[in-house]
């Protein structure tokens, strides 16, 4: 078989996003989430351009999809069982955390998004193949979570520690040294020189 799996997925992704867009826009089978006015070609409403763009994208996605059947072989990397499991559990846990926090009304400053992302990404990182992806993004999530309550210094430290796990060569001493160095550097660049408005130390207790 000469199927290009990469292109197959790429085409599928493009078509999926296009249908999603059309659905939200309201130009698809008459149903729509936001229902933008289409208008006419002379007086285009807010929904006109999105309709054009998403139909074009759908057509291109379909082309990519169809051509993928003959222009391979171009397989994706092999996924192990662990890759599948961690992805499935990660997404599930993320969604559950998000739902629970949302229903408890904890949603100031997108904290529910952050916690859900962080949880999901950490579970994802259990599988070695996902580790760089999971931990790099998780370090970003924890930075966003901690920045306003705990201040810049502690969030930098958290980002460093989480992201450092992604690289096998790090040991506790190198991480500690790097963290201190980056804290000082960021204090100098962002606080002393640029004077950005962000708490430096924990404000939650004070």
């Amino acid at each position: 078989m000469k199927i290009s799996t990469k292109d197959l997925w790429a085409g599928g992704l493009l078509m999926f996003l296009a249908i999603l867009g059309l659905f939200i826009n309201g130009g698809f089978l008459g149903i729509g989430l936001e229902q933008h006015t289409l208008g006419s070609a002379r007086r285009m409403g807010p929904g006109y351009m999105p309709m054009l763009v998403f139909w074009l994208q759908f057509a291109l996605g379909a082309f990519v999809f169809i051509l993928a059947l003959t222009n391979g072989p171009d397989p994706l990397e092999r996924w192990t069982k662990l890759d599948f499991t961690t992805l499935a559990i990660g997404v599930a846990v993320g969604l559950i955390i998000w739902r629970v926090m949302e229903s408890m009304g904890i949603s100031t400053n997108y904290v529910q998004v952050g916690v859900a992302c962080f949880g999901a990404l950490c579970i994802l990182a259990i599988s070695p193949a996902w580790r760089p992806l999971g931990l790099v993004l998780a370090s970003f999530a924890i930075f966003a979570l901690l920045l306003e309550p705990l201040g810049l210094m502690l969030s930098i430290a958290a980002l460093c520690v989480v992201s450092a796990v992604a690289d096998r060569d790090h040991n506790p001493i190198s991480v500690a040294g790097m963290t201190v160095f980056l804290c000082v550097l960021c204090w100098f660049v962002f606080i002393y020189e640029l004077d950005i408005r962000v708490p430096l130390w924990p404000t939650i207790f004070g």
Binding site: L14, F143, D167
Partner: protein
């Protein structure tokens, strides 16, 4: 001569203390990221965008431009010394440059790379200065329909010249345009695709997209394939060129400059394409063409001149038409808009300080880069010895703080995270991300011009082929697309962009 009066005015702006300092800062940062593999100008410029808010527009753009062409200089250093191209545009340089280094001529290769770049940069700066006002006067006669067709042509060319499948690249452009739809509709004020999130009413964050896809995505991929870093072996050696080397380089530099100046103007062309073009040309034309690939100095002199010339001339479409030629220029548009300046043909008139100051600072910056690169080469080699394990957390921290400080909002940090995931998927599926960024920037402008054109023509689509300028541009776009459908040309392009 008006040109000289304008240039004199420009030098007045470029030589003010602030602008000199920021040009130097930009050149230094650019060289540093050029030397370091794994972080490119797109990620760096998006990283530093927030820092430029406090500066006047001219100073900000001067610094960002310095980063861009500085990276072209720096990228050649690692390509020559370690066979590790710091930037895509230096991939060709590594072919002959590294061989020269192994033959003990590393110093000569570095010298000709810097001298060639400086010469090319100076010439290309003049090209920008001369053609800018000329093109501007043409652009002023453009109506909305012409603008729409011009942007369409730009998007198609940039997709055609992107690496890999043209079809996928065009699809990515369209996806970029789709992402650009998010936010408040300018004409009716209706919220589109915002899902009730107040932060999205201004649209998706340009910096978040660029940094997520190019910054985070790149770090993740680098960590996934931990290639053993080569250790620098051997010495740089004498920086002096022999007379023979100098004689052979001159024609290559001239040809490289010419090809780079032309290809740089093309949307999507930019530095890497010109470097490849120049290498191909040297192989065909040069008397020593058959020795290319074995450490021939032409293979360094030509492409290095070409990529730097292209880096300068790719400012032409931006400064005259307001259309970005590549992802870096798309960032410049973002920077200008944040500063409250609408890029376009009126910029030369309305912002003479910016236009002429930038042009002159390019030349000054090139001079600085010559000094930064040649005598101080040892310092940059040292920088290469910083292991990646220390580098990537630092990049992450700077990314995170930079994104946050845009609007003082953690929402932007989550947005970046989301685009990091998307960028990862794109790279796994070989979907080129640079066309997406260009589509995202041009999309809203295209919608505006399309709606205006249709309103003026009372809903008649014919306006796009009735106006001569628009018709010509559309015909060009059709020709470009049709040409790519020819199998012979397509395989030629794949060969040129491969390696």
């Amino acid at each position: 001569m008006e040109l000289f009066a304008n240039l004199a005015h420009g030098f007045g702006v470029a030589l003010s203390l602030d602008n000199l300092l920021f040009a130097l800062l930009g050149a230094l940062i650019g060289t540093a990221i050029g030397v370091l593999p794994g972080i490119g100008p797109v990620a760096t410029i998006s990283l530093l965008l927030p820092i430029t808010f406090g500066q006047p527009a001219t100073t900000a753009i001067i610094m960002l431009a310095g980063i861009y062409y500085g990276a072209q200089y720096g990228g050649s250093t690692t390509a020559i010394l370690l066979n590790l191209p710091g930037e895509v545009s230096s991939v060709v340089t590594a072919l002959d440059g590294y061989k020269m280094a192994r033959n003990g001529r590393a110093g000569a290769a570095l010298t000709i790379a810097a001298l060639g770049s400086f010469f090319a940069g100076s010439v290309a700066t003049l090209v920008v200065a001369a053609s800018g006002p000329m093109l501007t006067s043409v652009a002023l006669s453009f109506g909305p329909a012409d603008y729409f067709s011009l942007m369409l042509l730009g998007l198609i060319i940039s997709a055609v010249l992107a690496q890999g499948s043209v079809l996928k690249a065009i699809a990515m452009v369209v996806l970029g345009v789709a992402l650009g739809l998010v936010g408040t509709d300018v004409q009716t004020g209706q919220q589109r695709f915002t899902f009730g999130v107040p932060e999205l009413s201004d649209g998706l964050g340009f910096v978040s997209i660029a940094m997520g896809i190019f910054g985070l995505g790149e770090i993740i991929l680098n960590l996934e394939r931990p290639e053993a870093r080569q250790v620098m072996s051997g010495k740089v050696g004498s920086l002096m060129l022999t007379r023979e080397e100098f004689r052979r380089s001159v024609p290559a530099v001239l040809r490289g400059t010419a090809i780079g100046s032309v290809l740089g103007i093309l949307p999507g062309g930019g530095a890497s394409l010109s470097a490849f073009g120049s290498y191909m040309l040297e192989r065909k034309i040069s008397k020593y063409g058959h020795t290319l690939g074995t450490g021939a100095i032409e293979g360094v002199a030509g492409p290095e001149s070409a990529n730097n010339a292209a880096a300068q001339t790719s400012f032409i479409p931006l400064l005259t038409l307001g259309i970005p030629a590549n992802a870096v220029m798309a960032l410049m548009v973002g920077a200008l808009i944040i500063q409250g300046i609408q890029p376009g043909p009126r910029m030369v008139e309305a912002q003479p300080d910016l236009f002429w100051g930038l042009i002159c600072s390019m030349w000054v910056g090139n001079l600085m880069l010559l000094v930064i690169n040649l005598p101080m080469i040892g310092m940059w080699v040292k920088l290469l010895q910083v292991p990646y394990k220390y580098l990537y957390p630092a990049i992450l921290v700077f990314c995170a703080i930079g994104v946050y400080s845009l609007n003082n909002s953690v929402f932007d940090v989550y947005q970046t995270l989301f685009f990091g995931i998307l960028g990862y998927i794109f790279s796994k599926l070989h979907m080129p991300a640079a066309p997406l960024l260009i589509g995202f920037v041009l999309g809203p402008m295209m919608e505006e011009h399309l709606r205006r054109a249709m309103l003026l023509s009372r809903g008649d689509v014919g306006v796009f082929i009735e106006r001569p300028i628009s018709a010509t541009l559309l015909a060009l776009a059709a020709i470009v697309l049709a040409a790519m459908a020819l199998p012979a040309l397509r395989s030629g392009k794949d060969k040129a962009l491969a390696e």
